[in-house]
Amino acid sequence: MKKSLKNYTLSYITIIILIVIAVWATLFYAYITEEVYDNVDDGLKNQKIEIIRAAYQDESILKTDTFGINQFKITKSNVKIKHIEKSTFRNELIYMPYDEDMEPYRILTTYFYGKDKQMYRLEIRTSTVEEDELKYDLATALIILYFLIIISIFLLNTWVFYRAFKPFYQILNKLEQYQFGKIRESEPIKSNVREFTQLDTEIDKMLDRNEKIFKQQKLFIENASHELQTPLAISTNKLELLLEDEELAEHHLITISETKESLERMIKLNKALLMLSRIENNQFEAIEKINFNSLIFEVCEEFADLIEFKGIKIKINEHGTFTIDFNVDLAKILLSNLLRNAINYNKSLDGLIEIKIDQHHFTIANTGKGRGLSADHIFDRFHKETSAVNSNGLGLSIVKTIIETNKNLKINYSYSDSFHIFKIQKL
């Protein structure tokens, strides 16, 4: 799964901090217990010296043979020990009435000779840290600390991200809204970060470069189509003159006529390409409020003969009035291309065209041969589903280009109940 850059860094930080804190906690714990025992042991050793000193002066102390309030006991010992000065330490659990529980004690054991040359064994005890509780407390503290760190890093991260990466997201947003061949109105990103301004200018440069190439290509198509007009006009007109030559035999005339028909197909194709260029170059500027209802009727009227000839039934249902600001010529081209499409690709028998007009959308649906078409490619230039001879493959791409001149319009194709449906809707 894709994470945002922010969460991506955060997830790594979370894991790394967990490891760091765990290692640190172990070391810290070892160091603290070491320090605590060291301190306790020092205290016990000090007490030992004081008790032995006191025992020399006051022999009654030697009779303290149980741990009482003094927290030490002295017992006679017969053990032979080489280094009597040597103290040994051990930990022991002893019942403590206060806690009603066994508590850890640190016990110092040493031997000494009293005034009476008798060897005594001295045990001094003192309550020491509860390791369990220490561990528990430490763990609790560290868990809280861990979460506090994570939360503050999260907040800090968010804030820093918001501040530092703002230009980055602006650039991203800019790219998202960018449409090829459309004029960009974006201003350069303001940022103190060199990398971001660099990225922004580089992206702008790249887009400019691409657009320049795109424009050149467009211009090339436009110029090429334009330059083709005259030779095409000359050739067809010459053929037309030839056709009026009474001396030519009929089979010659037919060949000439066929040649001319091919040339005329080329003329139509060329005209369609020029039309695309003109639409893309926004040469249809005049915008006015267009009532599509009446325009649809007008266009249907224009096609009435052809529709009748092809035996197609046409139904127009008006549920509302579809009006939008549009160029009137483009609107006519749009509708006649759609209608022509609906006529040409209709069934040869019992064809039906259904036009539904609503306030927010209108649909042109037609029965047709075969199955649904690929909605992804149907508007592509020179895309042909069938090998239709009389199609130049540009009709629907002109439709799409016209729709794209208005940001508030959208067209989509669908196939249902054996109807090919083109739906134009306001956004």
């Binding site: 334009h226 007009q229 005259t230 095409l232 006009a233 000359i234 067809t236 007109n237 010459k238 037309e240 003159l241 056709l243 009026e244 009929e250 005339l253 037919i254 006529s257 066929e258 001319k260 028909e261 005329e264 197909r265 003329i267 139509k268 005209k271 020029l274 003109r278 040469q283 249809f284 224009e302 096609f303 003969d305 052809l306 000839f309 092809k310 010529d329 006649s336 022509r340 040409n344 001879v389 009389n390 199609s391």
Partner: protein
């Protein structure tokens, strides 16, 4: 009928001229702005065919000059730029018609004829061929002085034939002229055929001396 053809493309100018000569017009050619202006200033024509992009100036400028000179020549703009703006501006500047290149010569003839007729005759304009009279003002026809009812498309068809009788007219130019660009080539043959069949039937039923003859694979002619 004198026509001035202003077109910088020599080959195109030549083929248009040949076609016009075949229709028995007097044709003069101009290939650039200065020579066109000179000819317009000195002579008078019935019709001027004007290309918009000319060496030395624009056809639209020429239109302005024609107006300035107080000439009343009819002007048909022939433009390779099929742009609405040019068309609107041209017509605003006083052009009578606008034809986008490439065009059918048959279409050009139809436009020239209707313009010249509009200009030369005031009031009712009737074209007579054999026993058929076509009134282009009220769009009615009479066969043997009896009115015959034609629908709009049938009238357009007949008109297209009767302005150039005995000439072979191709089905594509017919289709485009009467039904616009909407019709596809594959359909045009059958479609035109069915329309012409109706027209022929009406002419025959009313005992017209003319008939529309099919020239297989190419088109039709009025005889």
């Amino acid at each position: 009928m004198k026509i001035l053809l202003i077109e910088d493309e020599a080959a195109l100018s030549q083929v248009i001229m040949q076609s016009l000569l075949a229709e028995r017009y007097l044709v003069e050619q101009a290939f650039d702005y200065p020579s066109a202006l000179e000819k317009i200033s000195i002579y008078t024509y019935d019709c001027i065919l004007l290309d918009i992009m000319l060496p030395g100036g624009s056809g639209l400028q020429l239109l302005e000059k024609i107006k300035e000179l107080g000439k009343d020549e009819s002007v048909i703009i022939l433009s390779a730029k099929d742009s609405v703006d040019d068309k609107v501006r041209g017509l605003e500047l006083g052009a009578d018609d606008y034809l986008a290149k490439p065009f059918h010569l048959a279409e050009l003839h139809a436009r020239i004829k209707s313009i010249i007729r509009r200009k030369n005759q005031n009031g009712d304009d009737v074209i007579v061929y054999k026993n058929v009279a076509v009134n282009t003002t009220d769009r009615s026809i009479q066969v043997n002085c009896k009115p015959v009812n034609l629908n709009r498309k049938e009238f357009d068809l007949l008109y297209y034939f009767i302005i150039r009788p005995t000439k072979l007219i191709q089905k594509n130019s017919l289709a485009e002229s009467i039904w616009g660009d909407h019709i596809d080539q594959a359909d045009s043959l059958d479609f035109i055929y069915s329309q012409i069949k109706n027209l022929r039937k009406k002419l025959k039923d009313n005992h017209a001396d003319m008939d529309i003859q099919a020239v297989y694979g190419i088109g039709y002619k009025l005889i």
